[in-house]
């Protein structure tokens, strides 16, 4: 198999063409080649959720997907979430509720929260906690994150 492959994808609205080593995962590609360092890497095993981002409307683990698999896709990272109203609302709510401390888990938390809200998730603390249980946060204790998501849903998010 070839060591590198040419890909073209749209990241936060911008078309990116690159020749990437086939073994490079999507989050490393975005961080190291595209220069979008907002997505974080905590485990490289799909467990911590820090690398969660949106590919073709679905929240995925950037460490579990190869860059070449994203060929032809639309990718949204934390740097691009404010293009959507729900993204902006969550960013504001996270600040208001202090739903982050070190901020390392935050890009992934926001991506998972967007997914929950866009799927029509209810303003139900237990359901939100359940949905966010794939995203690890060592700092906050989660309550303020749940508060932030609840506040956006209660205000009536528009996608």
């Amino acid at each position: 198999m070839a060591q590198t492959q040419d890909i073209e994808l749209v990241v936060n609205g911008e078309t990116i063409q690159a020749s990437v080593p086939v073994r490079t995962n999507l989050v490393d590609f975005l961080r190291d080649h595209v220069g979008l360092t907002g997505s974080h890497v905590g485990c490289e095993q799909g467990v911590c959720g820090a690398c969660t981002l949106e590919v073709d409307g679905v929240a995925v683990r950037g460490c579990l997907m190869l860059a070449v698999q994203a060929n032809g896709s639309q990718v949204t990272t934390i740097e691009g979430v404010s293009a959507k109203l729900v993204g902006r609302q969550l960013q504001r709510a996270f600040v208001e509720h202090n739903a982050l401390q070190c901020g390392f888990c935050t890009p992934g938390m926001i991506a998972s929260s967007i997914e929950y809200i866009e799927q029509g998730g209810a303003s139900d603390r237990a359901a939100i906690r359940e949905h966010l249980s794939g995203n690890y946060c060592r700092c906050t204790g989660y309550q303020s994150i749940v508060d932030a998501v609840v506040s956006v849903i209660d205000k009536g998010a528009a996608a």
């Binding site: 080593p21 073994r23 490079t24 961080r31 190291d32 220069g35 979008l36 360092t37 907002g38 997505s39 974080h40 890497v41 905590g42 485990c43 490289e44 095993q45 467990v47 911590c48 820090a50 990272t77 934390i78 740097e79 404010s82 969550l90 960013q91 996270f94 600040v95 208001e96 202090n98 982050l100 401390q101 070190c102 901020g103 390392f104 888990c105 935050t106 890009p107 926001i110 603390r125 237990a126 939100i128 906690r129 359940e130 966010l132 249980s133 794939g134 995203n135 690890y136 946060c137 060592r138 700092c139 906050t140 204790g141 989660y142 309550q143 303020s144 994150i145 749940v146």
Partner: protein, 792 residues
Amino acid sequence: MSGPLHKFDQPNSYIGRSVERPDASRLVEGEGCYVDDLQLPRMTHAAFVRSQYAHANIKSVNVDAARALAGVVAVFTAGEINAEVSPYVGTLTHLQGLRSPPQLPMADRVALWQGEPIVMVVAQSRAVAEDACEQVRVEYEPLDAMVSARQALDNDKARIHPELDSNTAWVKDVDAGDVSAAFSKSDVTVVERTFQFGRHTGVTVEPRSTVVEFNRSDNTLVFHYSGQAPHMMQAIIARHLDFPEENIRVIARDVGGSFGIKIHTYGDEIATAVAAKLLRRPVKFIADRLESFTTDIHARDHRIDGKIGIDREGKIVALEIDDLTGIGPYSMYPRTSAIECNQILNLTGAPYDIENYRARGTVVFQNKNMMCQYRAVGHPVAMAVCDSLLEEAASEIDMDVVEIRRRNLISDDAYPCTSASGMKFADLSHQKSLQRLVEMMRYDQLRKDQVELRKAGIYRGIGLVSMVEVTNPSPMFYGVGGAPISAQDGATVRLDAAGALHVSCSITESGQGTNTILAQIAAEVFGVDIKRVKVTTGDTAHVPYGGGTWASRGAGIGGESVLLASDALKSQVLEVAASILQTTPDTLQIERGVVVSSADGSEKISLDELGRIVYYRGNELPAGVNAELIATRHYKVSDFPFVFTNGAMAAQVEVDIETGFIKVLDFWVVEDCGRVINPKLVDEQIRGGVVQGIGGALYEECLYDDDGQYLNATMADYLVPMAGEMPDIHIEHVETPTSTSTLGAKGAGEAGTGGAPAAILNAVNDALRPLEASIFQMPMTPERVLNALRVS
């Protein structure tokens, strides 16, 4: 002081207000800058070959194939790296008798724990560096591994360090009053239990991360650091890599969590600095998760025999503990690995009025990863042992657990006082906090509900803890023992030409909100809108010398230094203003960026106009006016070794007796951390801490097999608390400002982690009591709960 400080309590004060964090807006946009985000010209990437064995002679190392791989820049053996470093020793003179052999960054002839670095590969990418690591051949001769602390203690012949006469690193005894006599009195009920606390680790989401740059032209080194104590790191690199200290700049930008994990001397990070120096180009080392689990410091791992005696009134007559802990092959440098045991000896029973107290601590070497200070050092162990013994004793004499605490907690009017272990206490509020807790949680109602539910086969338990927390440490913590760790912090505050305030301070930010509270203090004390305060922390080139953020010292010590500097600057500005206005400083005040008349509040001159006069049109100033719009002040705690805080916490849990699963239903905290600067930030510190404590009580444990092989080094196997399992946490405050400072702030960072395990342990045992089962081992996994039920 130039201003009346009671204004902190006024409704418009920035102090006591939940101001939003400016840093947070940056981080939610993905605009943070963590160490791994740095991309520097000609930067290289490091990976390490690490010992596969817990204890082995290294017979040979062959790096030829690795060196030949395309993309590899250099391969360094342990000998090559170690030759550039002078050995470091993890002892402190005030921990008398503590010993630890000299240590170097990498294992040359013998490896003492699984994960110890042996070969360093530097390549054009981390992926290539890892490819090259696979090409390195290491020939080992495996040796017997001393894995458990007991095994290491008992086995005198198989010594981890042949040059020492045993595997014991340190022993300490405390003996106050007459414990034996108290236990032997006829009316005394004696309860004995053995407690086991598993090894935990910090699991910061951002792993340990280091980038080092070296400039040969001027022999300077820039250390990009994900950690809490930049000046400590600067001193360590200078000492052990033989650099002039001033030629080293340590920069900590955004830090993705630390909790004490990133405040120690790690061989791989020192090796990264050496490699940068030898290669004359930037080297990046980012630990992967396997490296984090096997080499980030671990903590806890204590086995304690505890014994309490109470009389018929429920009064504690004596307390005794015997602690055995294993710390890995060395005592960690420079904070040492004996501090946790020392804290346990100091803090067990500290909230209570106890005359007779005896404690022994034994610290041994073993072939496991090293142990050192992690959030709430010693507290969770000390609090769990004492408060569990107390609740067990209460049940023996059929006394309510709140009542027995009321009878034993030091009374709120007894301060200052000294504990049996010699701790000096002042300004605490145990009784009041307990009362507030009981009201907040509706204790009596919960007890009634509990009885009803038991009839339906639902086993709920309620557990409490009364705790102290060590905060605001003085030089007595490390400095006195010879460590290059500052106990004082400094702040510089200056006014610019546009009337804005610039604060730089030696404490650091890793998400607690440090920069925000410093801005609040400066804005309030000086008198400007908080939007006009810019804060710099985490860069040895730009902040005054100081200790950084650890042991809950940021607000109390760093905050006080900012208060003093802001106040000094205010006096200077008022003098300049008075000379311009031809009046005296005492007739003026600064409010919202304007110098006003203190008599009627009328505006006299704005700070931006004053700045322009001083900086641009100095000719307008009267002769002899020394307009220095900058002030620096330093602060340390001097009357006490530490400033203690106190708290009371409670948990309600439900135990599923079929599966052994424990669900935490509710958690309540009453915290007295003195003056609260930002209620939201404090509460979130406490919540995060409680969840970390619940993790330690129920899920987290670094597991090793008998050969010292780490068994659960992934985040899927080392369980941490996730959102779905955690309860909402209710918090209230009692505010007893510390009289050691003007600000009156104490720390709050350790409270949750220190107290929650005890409350959870007590709650679980309360739930199991009707089944005559009990558990005294953390984490309380479903398997251990089921075993406890089976034994009963």
